[in-house]
Each structure stands twice: as structure tokens, then as C-alpha cells.
Symmetry: C2
Subunit: 395 residues, 2 copies
Amino acid sequence: MISEKMKGFVANSSIIRAMFEEGKKMAEKYGTDRVYDFSLGNPNVPAPDEVREAIVDIVTNTDPVRVHGYMNNSGFEDVRETIARHLNELYGTSYGAGNILMTVGAAGGLNVIFKTLLNPGDEVVTVSPYFGEYRSYAGNFDAVLVESAADPKTFYPDIADLEAKITEKTRVLILNSPNNPTGVVYPKAVLEEIALVLERKSGRYGAPIYLVSDEPYREIAFDGVEVPWIPSIYKNTIVGSSYSKTLSLPGERIGYLVIPSCLDDFENVTAAANVANRILGFVNAPSLMQLVAARCCGAKTDVAYYDRNRKLLYDGLTSCGYECVKPEGAFYLWVKSPEEDETAFAARCKNEEQILVVPGRSFGCAGYVRIAYCVSYETILNALPGFKKVAESYR
Amino acid sequence: MISEKMKGFVANSSIIRAMFEEGKKMAEKYGTDRVYDFSLGNPNVPAPDEVREAIVDIVTNTDPVRVHGYMNNSGFEDVRETIARHLNELYGTSYGAGNILMTVGAAGGLNVIFKTLLNPGDEVVTVSPYFGEYRSYAGNFDAVLVESAADPKTFYPDIADLEAKITEKTRVLILNSPNNPTGVVYPKAVLEEIALVLERKSGRYGAPIYLVSDEPYREIAFDGVEVPWIPSIYKNTIVGSSYSKTLSLPGERIGYLVIPSCLDDFENVTAAANVANRILGFVNAPSLMQLVAARCCGAKTDVAYYDRNRKLLYDGLTSCGYECVKPEGAFYLWVKSPEEDETAFAARCKNEEQILVVPGRSFGCAGYVRIAYCVSYETILNALPGFKKVAESYR
């Protein structure tokens, strides 16, 4: 009795989520410390203390009618102003409240901007491997996701291939850097080349191609690598951000869109995005968490924690022979499968060592697996012997 | 550059929301105490103390990785179990966690169930006047909203008309009792008649017609009136509920769906609803507020506060000649316009007396206005002389 479209969505449902559920069942069976669940990007780092302090202070000292009440569908004016100012300090921009739309996480924000921009049959180009939900989000609006394979050496976008994939049907290019699942950060020079392609194509087809920059991992970068602010490189950029990872609040569903004033058709896009936020059923981003985000927008998650995990995992896996993409950001390691069929490798990890990793085909790129290292240091330490045994079993 | 569908949505955008924004601007101009804003269902009653106490206790004494983390897309298992038990105590049902899906407010829940059930071209029948967003929610999935006019005497559903409007294209009947905007509560006998119609029609067309019962106002009912539990009357009922009004948490976006096990195709519907919650971008209902809802699901908003407002407003308006539908639930008064064109009446209220009321055509029923009395007692008291002057101006 369910809708035809949902039948497809259910059939292709997130393998990551299925593994998350399976991991919990396995933990009940084998014990939590005997299951090594690297499946989901659910931070093991607690939210910074500022979050708890802000919550207690706000609910104790602010009128509950304001704290928990409705506001403009785009969010509290003062919250949006504060976030705009914070971005201005970081990136030398001049945003105001009107450039910020508070959203139900980055996932909510992407759906809002896709609903705003996409007609049925429009194409959304992305670089594979990519966060698998992009396909569902485009499908929600009957648009088509088009994959452009990354350069297999660097996992940066392949400019020539990208250019070939962008046609007159392309409405949006969605990029994600620091990248899930590869952990790479796109350098400025690469982004500048992409901007040139988009400008040329927009001119040729007589309509702007919007770049949607999905940036939940912006603040998680290592070794001093620069994460360029893309709206300063390409004017028709909309940024989707979230506090899920940077403040370890993934369950709270709090994020925002940045829609710069220089965007083509800015007035209509912001007005429509405000309406889309409402009619998609979000109505507004959760109110208390909006206030918390404004208080804590300068707070940082414990990047050193992830860095320590990254080094342990990367060194541990490469030393027993795995081929890994050097991760510069986010909290994922992208590992070449020792056999062509990475689902068989992932099954071997699970069945023989209770290690859960996600097959690359969930991200549109077979032959690799994704390991989410936002777990405890001990989980990695205790899983390494298992990874080693599996590696040896392939010799 | 925005999508064709969004152009339509923006053009027909919520007049209620526009009035809410205008009310804030008028308050800046005339002073808050000189503007009487009855436009939005934004409770002026603060959340019960239990909510603040639960928030402080949870963030102080529970691991933040759990409080703010991901969980199953349907919500925390123990939260769903607690809410199920609470419903069982109230309605003598036997629900478990598997019958509850935590949602981003009732609006999120309605979108989840519509995405789950509706194919393009399917019809969703509702009784007018109705909450205007239903049209957008059906439109999100290319379904068509079909209006069946309520009996103009009682504002209960007109059974004969409803029967005529339900065709083989009808997939869902959505009802809302206690009703926004009329404040009426549908009696059990009326609901039983509707159930018979739905059973007959489901049988004739060989497919179940689901009843979606939108119940954010369930706990706000007066004079001891019974609000029947509809799944006990018609088995293919899905309930959409919310803590927005009952705990005064509209900005927090926390609600739930009840999907009874006896529902036709229960397994597929719940699996698809879980996926829909994820891919629509909600991912899950806000995590802290899920925990708060479970702690406070027995807490009650201050119904006596609304009752006092209701009496003051109803008596005040009827005594100066307005014709009002007797409100038994929710916090809305449905008032016949003194002139045929209720938008002219609403404009006169606004321009001459700074009183904001919503024209009935926003609810698919011209000739009436909606007055949301979830405001302070003083706002009503101070607005009554203005209402009286406007009434006199029509003599």
C-alpha cells in the first residue's frame, strides 16, 4: 500500500543505517567491547561543555515563550545575525541575518535548497564517491543525480570529467569538502578551476548553475590544511552547514544555509527557501538549539581527539598493508579493498572480526570501504589486530 | 531561477505567517500593548515547569553522546516505549515502541506519512475549513487536496458530501479534531459514521483508505467534552501528534506518529515511514526534546488559561453581536464576518483597531475569520472595545 516511489527508496535504503542497527544487535550479542562499529558518523566526542552551560542558562533565565516558541520560519533574527557576524570574522565576508536560514541539520538545509531550485528532470551533478543521501534528496524533487568520478589518485574532482557531465540540464553541482567518505579537502586551486567551468557553462546555457557546498565537516581539518570558503571563489554558491559534527549535536538537527546576497536571483531564492522550510514540514529549526548554536558558534569540538584516532588508524592499517587515502579532514578513512568486491571484504571483517565498515558502493564507488573513526581510541586500538588478521587472510 | 512548483507555493504562501510578520512590525510601530495579534497559534502559555526541570536534569546527568547523538531514525527506543505506554493507559490500547515514530512536529509527521502513502495524482480528502498547510503537504508529493465542506451549522463533517468526495483516487482522509480553525470537537457518533463510509469505500475500491488524524490539540478540550481515540473507531487510522500546543513547545518541532499494528500493510508502512523520515531530511526528531517528551508526556499545559480566554472572547464577541461557533477545543474562535467579504472585515479590524485576525479563505472557507486566543488575557480584554467599534461600524 506504500507509494511507488517509496518502494524504490526502501529497496535502496541506507546500508549505513542498516549496519548501525546491526551493530547495536551485535553489541548485545558479543558485548559492546567486542564489536568494532565504524559504520556511522555519530561522534563519540561529547558536545563541548559550553553547550550544556548554554542550555542550562537559557532555559533558566530566558522566557520559555521565547525559548520554545515560533519565530520567522528562517530562524530567530538575532541568532542569524550572530552566525553571520561569526562567518564575517572568519572569512572577511559581509553577511547579515538575511543571508542565513536556520535549518533542521544540513540534511534539512539540502532538501530546502533542492526544493527551492529543482524542477523534475533537472540534473544535480556530484563527485563520486559521495554521501549516498544526495540521490534521495534529488529524487525527492524528481531530479536526477549525475555522478562524476573523482580522480582515483587524489580523490579530488576530475575537472575534465566534471566539465563533460555538466549539461544544459544541470541546475546544481553539489560538493562536499572535507569529504565524506574520502576525508580529502579540496584545495583552492581545484575549486578555482571548478568555478571557471561553472561560469563558462552558466554563460553558455544562459542560466546560473548553483554550487551547493555541503560542509558539515568544515571545522574538522588536520595538519593546518586550508578549507577554502567557496562563496568567495564562485559567487553562485550556497553553503549548507550543520552543528552535528562540529558541536557533536547530530541528534539535535541544527544547521543553517548561507545564501550570499550576490547570488543570482537572491531575493526569490531566499523567499522560496523560507517557504520551502515551512511547507516541507520543518517549519523552523529547533528553537532552543538555535539559541544554543548562537551562544556556541565559536566553540570547537575536540579536533585533537579525531586527529589522534586518525593517526592510529591510518598508521595501523597502512602498516599491515592496507592502501588508504591520506585523510586531511572529516573523520573518515577511505580504504582500498584487498579484493575487488569490497562487499565481500566488508562481510569478512564483520563475520570474522566483528568489525563493521561500509562498502564503497553505498557512496557510488565500489572497490573501497569507508571507516568512520569518530569512535573511541580504544575501539580502534582493539580493532587493529582484527584488521591485521583479515589483511593476512588475503595473502 | 526558482523551481516552477515553488513559484506557486510562494505565490500562495501562508497569509497567517505574513500576518505574524506584519504583527511584529506593527508592534514596533504602535507598541506591543496597542497591537492585538490573534493571527498565529503560538501559545502564550509557558511550557510547564516539568519541561525546564527535565531539560536541566537530562543535560546535567546523562551522557551527552546519548542526549545529542543519533539513534534509530524512528526515535529512541525507550522514548517510543514510554509514549506507547502512556497512550495505552489513556485509551486502553496495546501499543509498543514499534507503533510510535518520533517526528519533527506534527508537520514533519504529516509529510512523512504523505510521502509514505501518496502517489502523484492521488487524492487527499479533507473537511473545510481546514489547516491551509494540508494543501502544500499534499502538493509536495503531487497529490491533490479535495475539500468536503463541513456542515455550516455544526462545522462537523457533512457525511453525505464526504461520501461523494471519496472516490477510487482517494488514498487518505485527513481529519483534525479538536479543529483548527473552528474549535469544534468531532463527536464519536460522527466519527463512527465516517468509519462506515471509509470501510464501504475501501471495500468497493479494493484498497484501504487511510484516515490520518492530525491531533496537535487533543489535550486542549473544554467542558469535559470527549475527544474520541479514532484508531479505536477505524482501524486504518494513523495519528499525527505533537507537543507544540500541549507542552507549549511549538518552536522545538517535536511530535510523533502512531501507526497501529492492525493497519493494513503495517510492516511496509512503518518501514517506509522510517525511511521517509530520513530521506526527507528530518533524519530523526530532535534528540534532547525526545527525551524531554518522554519525561513530560503526562504533563499538562494550563488548559484553564485557555478556557478563561475562551469565555472572555466568546462572551465578549457574542455580546456585541458577532456570530461565533461555540468552541469546545483547541484555542481558536471561528467568527462569521459581518460582511460577506471577510478579507474586508479583517482589513477593517487591522487598519482601524490594530486587531489581526485571519480571513477564512486561508482555510478554504470564506465569510469567516479565525481568532487565535492563545494570547494573554489582557490582549483579549484590551481588544474587545476595538471589536465592538468595528461591529458598530457595520450597523
